[in-house]
């Protein structure tokens, strides 16, 4: 397996790892976002609670969840390794006017954007994931399902908390705007026919998914 470890530590291989784990996280975002969108149904959160309960208890989902955390950790560790390697490759920067004209700011700031998302994730997991999964303070809704909806509603009716969420979703949008199409490039996928489609999907995904997430705190704030 020497060849494989060499692959994983080469500059090309490291990016392949970033790309594959990133694409998995993107697929997770799609599922998460779709389920959260159920909150906008006007049923007092009954359907959302059912879906959330299913996701929290289904054995297949729980297994995938282990991989989700594993891939998230690999994505973070690999990004630290890449950033360190890249910073070592150029220790002196230019003093002339910077070359902002030649690349997008968010493509150069993936590490910072990613770190902000990590801070957000810590807050997010502490408040929603850990509190719902490992404590039993959730009430029951009219159907007798754990009432995640009320938990979310209560949290987002705090304007400061809602602002943190909305800001984090803007950060996520920029991270995705570069990451989505960059993931395909790192895998060597680049084609006159398909690349424009991937780029379009990337832009659409980076706007729609964070927008749906950000719509939740706005929705509950307005409902207050």
């Amino acid at each position: 397996m020497n060849w494989f470890s060499k692959f994983l530590t080469s500059t090309v291989g490291r990016k392949v790892v970033m790309s594959l784990t990133g694409l998995f996280l993107i697929s997770f975002l799609l599922v998460h976002c779709s389920i959260n969108a159920l909150m906008f149904l006007n049923d007092g959160g009954l359907f959302f609670n059912e879906a959330a309960h299913f996701m929290a208890t289904n054995i297949l989902i729980r297994t995938i969840e282990i991989f989700l955390f594993l891939f998230l950790i690999i994505h973070i560790l690999q990004s630290v390794a890449i950033t360190r390697q890249n910073m070592k490759a150029r220790t002196i920067s230019y003093s002339g006017t910077s070359s902002t004209a030649t690349s997008k700011w968010y493509s150069r700031s993936m590490g910072i954007l990613g770190s902000l998302i990590l801070v957000f994730l810590v807050i997010h997991l502490k408040d929603f994931f850990i509190s719902s999964r490992f404590t039993d303070h959730l009430g029951l809704d009219n159907n007798g399902t754990p009432d995640m909806y009320s938990e979310v509603k209560e949290a987002f009716q705090n304007p400061a908390y809602a602002m943190i969420y909305i800001f984090s979703m803007i950060v996520l949008a920029y991270h995705l705007l570069h990451g989505f199409q960059s993931a395909f490039r790192s895998l060597g996928i680049y084609h006159k026919k398909y690349t424009p489609v991937i780029e379009f999907l990337g832009i659409a995904f980076s706007i729609i998914v964070p927008a749906v997430f950000a719509a939740m705190p706005i929705y509950f704030l307005l409902k207050k």
Partner: protein, 250 residues
């Protein structure tokens, strides 16, 4: 035109170096950037000062010897142009122009604006060639090559190995250069027998030399004087992944 030049001066590899400011009062707008540097050096010699060292050779935009980062941009502000083909009419009277060497740890500064780019040569030596005796030019139609592929190979082969991609990249990555060199052979049948070993060896040396990794910002393509496409980096990734998976023994 009058120019104020802020030029990086460094005695040798171990010197810390710093900026010196010079005044040029009579710059011809028709002069190339290197000719303007010649005028500066003549002025310095007359003042009994040491002239600024910089790399140059053909001064026709094809050899890849000239370098320099002008106002923060490798080969200056003009698209698809080497420093030697950049003319002073693209600057404004009274402007301050900052001139620095290419910055990357794999390109150590030797003196003033001259950097050591032999790391590129070591990458080339690792596989940037076809190791068969080609003899004289063969019959043109013996090996049919798709026009689209031959055009792409030719575009990749236009890389002059100047290192502007490395200088432009925030990661000091050499992937546009290596991508172009790998692509020009990967696209042609003559390069196929050695394609796997080529890409594995060239990437290995690229990493050993301390170049960073590509994060797809696209700055290299924007600064490349030969406008080499980032599609070559994607091809490098593709070639590398497929070589890793298919080669039995490395």
């Amino acid at each position: 035109m009058r120019l104020t030049l802020k030029v990086w001066r460094q005695k040798n590899k171990s010197d810390k170096g710093g900026f010196e400011t010079y005044q040029l009062n009579n710059v011809d707008t028709h002069a190339s950037f290197l000719e303007m540097m010649d005028v500066l050096n003549e002025q310095l010699i007359e003042e009994n000062k040491i002239p600024v060292a910089f790399d140059h050779d053909c001064r026709e935009g094809i050899c890849g010897a000239c370098s320099m980062v002008i106002n923060g941009r490798p080969h200056g502000p003009l698209k698809g142009t080497t420093t030697c083909q950049l003319h002073m009419r693209h600057f404004n009277d009274g402007e301050t122009v900052t001139i620095e060497p290419f910055r990357a740890n794999a390109f150590p500064v030797l003196k003033d604006l001259v950097v050591d780019r032999t790391s590129f040569e070591r990458i080339q030596q690792a596989g940037g060639y076809v190791s068969i005796g080609t003899g004289s030019a063969p019959e043109a139609n013996n090996i049919p090559i798709n026009k689209n592929d031959s055009d792409k190979a030719f575009d990749a082969a236009a890389c002059i190995g100047c290192g502007a991609c490395v200088a432009a990249c925030k990661n000091g990555s050499a992937m546009l250069f290596v991508g172009a060199k790998v692509s020009q052979y990967a696209l042609l049948p003559q390069g196929h027998p050695e394609r796997n070993e080529r890409v594995l060896n060239m990437v290995a040396v690229m990493d050993e030399e301390g170049f960073g990794g590509c994060t797809n910002t696209g700055a290299c393509e924007a600064e490349c004087p030969k406008e080499i496409s980032v599609a070559n980096i994607m091809r490098l990734n593709r070639e590398y992944i497929s070589a890793k998976l298919s080669v039995e023994k490395e």
